[in-house]
Symmetry: C2
Subunit: 190 residues, 2 copies
C-alpha cells in the first residue's frame, strides 16, 4: 500500500537490531485518516470471503482492527493481555511471547465473543516472528471457528512470521513488506 510506505519512509526510522519505529502514526500516536484507509484496504482485500468478525490484540491492533471492522460491518473483538476482575466468564486463552516487551502474556477472549462456526479475520499491526498472529489463530480454532485471513500492517519479511503463517496455510495480506532493515536502511519488498 503506497500511502503506508510513504508514511513509513517519511516518519518511520530503523534502529539497530532490526527495529522499525512507527510510533508517530501507528502504535502510540495514531493517524486516524491513515487508519481508516488501511481498514478500507483490508476490507476490500478480504471482501471475497464472508467475514463474521475481526479479532485483534490490545493495544496496538485496536485502531486498525476497528477501521477494518467498520468497513466490513462486523464486530471487533480484542484479546486482552491481562484479565479484568470483571472477566469472570469462561475464556479462550493462550500464551503469546512479545519480543519487544520481552515477556510472555496469557491473552484471553471471553468465549461469548468468539462463537463457533464463524469466519474470523485476524488483524495486527506488526508481523515479525508470528507469535501474536499464531496465538490469535489458536484462539479462533479452539473456538471452533475458521481463520478467514490474517491482515498485517507491517510485515518484516526477513523474519520467520510470514513463512510460519503461510506454512500453516493462512491467507496472509500485509500492507507493507519490509525486505531489510540492514544498516538502519528501510528497504521494501518489490
Amino acid at each position: 500500500m503506497e500511502l503506508l510506505e510513504q508514511h513509513i519512509l517519511k516518519e518511520g526510522y530503523a534502529l539497530p537490531g532490526n527495529v522499525l519505529k512507527v510510533d508517530s502514526f501507528l502504535n502510540h500516536q495514531i493517524d486516524p485518516e491513515l487508519s481508516l484507509k488501511m481498514g478500507e484496504e483490508f476490507a476490500a482485500h478480504f471482501s471475497a470471503s464472508h467475514i463474521d468478525r475481526v479479532l485483534t490484540i490490545e493495544a496496538s491492533g485496536i485502531a486498525i482492527g476497528l477501521t477494518t471492522a467498520l468497513k466490513l460491518g462486523v464486530p471487533l473483538v480484542f484479546a486482552r493481555k491481562k484479565k479484568s476482575i470483571l472477566m469472570t466468564e469462561e475464556t479462550y486463552s493462550t500464551e503469546i511471547y512479545s519480543y519487544t516487551k520481552q515477556e510472555t502474556n496469557m491473552v484471553s477472549v471471553l468465549k461469548n465473543f468468539l462463537p463457533a462456526k464463524e469466519n474470523v479475520l485476524i488483524i495486527d499491526d506488526f508481523l515479525a516472528n508470528g507469535e501474536s498472529a499464531l496465538g490469535l489463530a489458536r484462539l479462533v480454532e479452539e473456538a471452533g471457528s475458521t481463520v478467514a485471513g490474517i491482515g498485517i500492517v507491517i510485515e518484516k519479511s526477513f523474519q520467520e512470521g510470514q513463512k510460519r503463517l503461510q506454512a500453516a496455510g493462512y491467507d496472509l495480506y500485509s500492507l507493507a513488506r519490509i525486505k531489510s532493515l540492514d544498516n538502519c536502511q528501510i528497504e521494501f519488498m518489490e
Copy 2:
C-alpha cells in the same frame, strides 16, 4: 445519548458492587458503528473549542478515541500502561490506580507526542472515581498544554469522579450518566 442508553439497557447488565458490564459493545467486543456515532457526538460537542489532539489510555479508550480524533481531523495518542523496550525517548509519566484491575499502573506518553501549547481533548470509556481522567490531565498539564475537555462514554454519576473533575474546573461531557446501579438495576440521570 439515546442510542448509547439503548445499548446499555439492551446489552449491558449490572452486577453486585456497582459494576456495569458493557463488554459486548464497548470494551472487549466493540460495535464499530456505535463507536463512530459516539465519536461524532464528542466531536460535535467539543467543536466549539479548537482541539489539537485527542489523548486516551490503552486499551479500552482507543476505539472511541480513534473515532473522535477521526471526526475532529486530529491525531490520537494513547498513554501506555507498560513501556515497550522501544520507548527509549523521554516520557511524561504518572501513576493511575485501576479499581477494576486492582493495580496501580505507571502510564506514559512520549514527550514528542504530547507537545506544549496545545488544546488536548481527553477521551475515556468509563468515569468512576476519576483516577484515569485526572491522571491523563496531569500528563497534559505537565506537557505545558491545556485540557480542552474530557469526554466520557459512561459516567457513574454516583461515584466521585464527576465531582472531582468539575471541582478541578474541567469541561466534562458524558454520553451516558448512570444515576444508580442499586439492586443491579440500571438507572440513568434525568
